[in-house]
Amino acid sequence: MSRFWFTVLAVTLVTSVVMSFVGPSKEAKFLWDAKAFFAVYGFVGCVAIIFVSKWLGRYWLQRSEDYYDPHQAPAEAGDAGEPGMSGEAGAPSASGGPGSWAGPQGSAHGEEARKGGAQDHA
């Protein structure tokens, strides 16, 4: 983020919090009528969502792409770890999770199928 946009964001956030203190206030009927409740909720909620989702994905839900049909997947190494934003790719449970049939194979078939399909779709 450039300095300009960072400033815009900071000003927006600070203004929104200040406005909830100086603006018209109604009597606090619910928990969320507290001042700047949604600022806190937005930040904490977002952090919680990111970490809980990632944790569930890593330790329970995510498997290698040939999980459902290991027959058709030609082995291709080095497909698991993508550089860039995903700093955590290639987790240990990628292809050896509990009860996984798939050996440490790659996952080229999905990509090929998608590529082929995307050409003739429409």
Partner: protein
Amino acid sequence: MGKRLGKGARRTMPEHLPPFLPFFLGALVLPFLPRVVRGWAFLLPPLGVLWLLSGLEAGTSLSLSFLLWEMEPLRVDRLSLLFGWVFAMAAFVGGVYALHLRDTGQQVSALLYAGSALGAVFAGDLLTLFVFWEVMALTSAYLVWARRTDVSRASGMRYIYVHLMGGAILLAGIVLHGVESGSLAFGLFETRTTAAWLILVGFALNAAVPPLHAWLADAYPEATVTGAVFMSAFTTKTAVYALARGFWGWEILVVAGAASALVAMVYSLITNDIRRVLAYLVMGQVGFMVVGVGLGSQMGVNGAVAHAFAGVLYKGLLFMAAGAVIHATGRSRLSDLGGLGRSLPTVLPFYMVGALGIAGFPFFAGFVSKGIILDAAAYAGREGVYLLLYLASIGAFLAAALRIPFLAWGGEPKGDEVEPVPWNMTAGMGIAAGLTLFLGVYPVPLYSLLPFGLDYEPYSYSHVLKAVQLLGFAFLAFWIFRAKLGGESRIALDTDWVYRRPARASYVLGPEVVAAAFGVVERVVYGVMGRVVQVGRDPVGWLERAKRVGKDVVTSSPGTPEGRDPETASTSLRVSMAAGVILVLTALLIFFLRIVVPPT
């Protein structure tokens, strides 16, 4: 159910054509038109439907007797009209987006799909609803198969099986309900009978309520680029309509809808395929609508159908933009996308309109419709649900408006060739984006379509401030932890595990075990038969040969290690003869015991 919903004055007006008729006529005529005009001809049925709808009034009804039952293939009230309008608009926008398409099968099935969705919405009785419901499942499955890859073929097969199962449950409920109550009229189910529960399960499956939701994220990403746009509009929204009419105020829907929103939120952040993320977002938004229906207040139903209306527009827009990305790059996995800001910048504004719409950003349609549901939850005293839905809003913002744009349009380019996006795709996105913005800024036309009167001001000081704080600070959190949200080339297991994972086990248990068993039987039978034939050809000679074997061995090669031991040979002969005798004796004994001495 309220006065305006369901119990309007019924008149039989045969001069009114059912509004779904143009779609079916169009599907009939389209294959006979020249190939080049089919894309344009596709746009006529939706326009015809819009024209018919403008002449329809709430309260119109068309009934006929079928066998012993009073059927009502056309029942118009404010609830069905609203869905009629948005379905016709969605079909038109989808038609513009698919103008370049040269695939008659897809065009015809899309028309039939839209027509049956309309038919389901205007069905006044459960049997008519069921028929359209099933046609919808079949025609939409074709839009998955039309991609013509192995993956889409398998996915479409699972899709159709799941929906046929849901349809079977629905039909069971309908039949049971008809027998119990003596009527097939489709109205609010007031009592919690078994029949009503079965029908509810049938509807909930189409509304992607957990744990019956996995078909959605399984099939939508595998559909064709244009097919997914239609699919995102009709199936789940028809289910929301059916729930709103039949199960208005059923408490369990509040829980189910909130669960939907939360499950979808988690998956939308760990899924890699761009349209699979969108499919989970659809599921989450439908969860909002299901909550609105379950709350049981007029405001809740208003919010649910308003959210369905707005959702058809901005979710269609999201699928269109994602489809444009797939069309241009040939890639759909977020881990394979990147740097589109340089190669495909024109799609981003349209995508962002849809994404901010789904996030409930001020001046976008979702801000208004989601606000109605949330306020209805607060008024109903459902504070936990209120907070969970706001959490799900953060999740939708995070997945749709931050994660996908940053992964697909940000970062470094991956892969070089980018095909140009046809003008009509851009036009389709433009129409949907315009409507999303229009309804966000000026929601009065939407209000006037709602089934109940609504007094709701979305642009109150506190509501706007809430949204700005919530989304602003969510953005801050995203920016700090953005490295966590990358696309990983892995899949996320969902409840379709239940029927996908055992596929291999059942293959082992089925074909492989059976084949092995047949192999053993075959070897045994061939061995025995060969022996029998050999013996039967010349039994006396065989006996002599068997004797001679012993003698020959004794005389010619006494003690040679490779010769058969005479003792063993004759012993085996004796043993087998003895066994035969014993067998015959046993059989005689059993025969004697069973027949001569009958059991008492």
